[in-house]
C-alpha cells in the first residue's frame, strides 16, 4: 500500500514532556513536509526537507526539531511541550519537480 504514514495517530501528554512523531513515505518522493492544523482547522507549513536537507523552516519555535534520517522518513521531535502545541500534525511528501503533495493521516496531539 503506497502512502504516507504517521505514528502515532493520537498522542496525549503532559505539559513539559518531550515527544516524537514519525512519518514515512514509500512513494519514492524526494521532499517531505510537516504541517500544523490548529483548532480552527487552519493549516500552516512548519518544515520541508529535500533529500534529507532542510529547505523550509517557518518561524517555528526551536523546541520543534525535525530529523530526516533518509529521504523516506521525516520525524518531528518536540521538547518541553506547551498547551498551544495541541493540534493535528500532518506529514506530506512530493516528487521532485512536482507540486502535488500527498498527505499522511495526521497525528492528533493533545497537551494537558
Amino acid at each position: 500500500d503506497t502512502a504516507v504514514s504517521q505514528t502515532p495517530k493520537y498522542l496525549v501528554t503532559q505539559m513539559g514532556n518531550d515527544k516524537s512523531i514519525k512519518c514515512e513515505q514509500n512513494l519514492g518522493h524526494d521532499t517531505m513536509y510537516w504541517y500544523k492544523q490548529d483548532s480552527k482547522k487552519f493549516l500552516k507549513i512548519m518544515f520541508s526537507y529535500n533529500n534529507k536537507e532542510l529547505i523550509i523552516n517557518e518561524t517555528v519555535p526551536n523546541r520543534f526539531s525535525p530529523k530526516s534520517p533518509d529521504k523516506a522518513h521525516l520525524n518531528l521531535h518536540i521538547n518541553s511541550l506547551e498547551l498551544g502545541d495541541s493540534a493535528v500534525y500532518f506529514c506530506a511528501s512530493s516528487a521532485q519537480g512536482r507540486n502535488e503533495q500527498f498527505f499522511g493521516p495526521g497525528t492528533r496531539l493533545t497537551v494537558l
Partner: protein
C-alpha cells in the same frame, strides 16, 4: 505577500443545489492553485489542480487571473460532498521543493 482567502467558513446547501466555494489569491508571480478536500477525520486529498483543468467528482475550478480567483463549483451537491475544502497556492523553491499556502478552509455541509 502571498495569501489565499476563503471568505466563507461554512457553506450549507441542500442536496441537489449548486455549490460555489470561493477562493481568492494574492501572488505576484504565475500562480499554481489547488483544491484539497478533507472528509471527516481523514487525511487531506488533492481534489483539483488548475493546470489540469479536469472535473473530479463533478467539481470544476477555473483560474481567473483578472479577478485573482479560483472558485470551486459543482452544479448539484451530494451529501457525500460534505467536507472541509481548502484552496492552496504553491510557491516554488527553485524546483527542489515547494510550499503550499492554504486558505482558512470552507466547511461544506450538504443537507438531505
Amino acid at each position: 505577500a502571498q495569501r489565499v482567502t476563503q471568505p466563507e467558513k461554512l457553506l450549507s446547501v441542500f442536496k441537489g443545489a449548486p455549490v460555489e466555494l470561493k477562493c481568492n489569491y494574492s501572488y505576484s508571480g504565475s500562480p499554481e492553485l489547488f483544491w484539497y478536500v478533507q472528509y471527516s477525520r481523514q487525511r487531506l486529498q488533492l481534489l483539483l489542480r488548475h493546470i489540469s483543468r479536469e472535473s473530479i467528482k463533478g467539481f470544476t475550478a477555473d483560474l481567473n487571473k483578472g479577478e485573482t480567483s479560483f472558485h470551486l463549483k459543482k452544479p448539484f451537491a451530494q451529501e457525500e460532498d460534505s467536507a472541509m475544502y481548502y484552496c492552496a497556492l504553491t510557491l516554488n523553491y527553485g524546483g527542489a521543493t515547494n510550499k503550499l499556502i492554504f486558505g482558512t478552509g470552507t466547511l461544506l455541509a450538504v443537507q438531505p
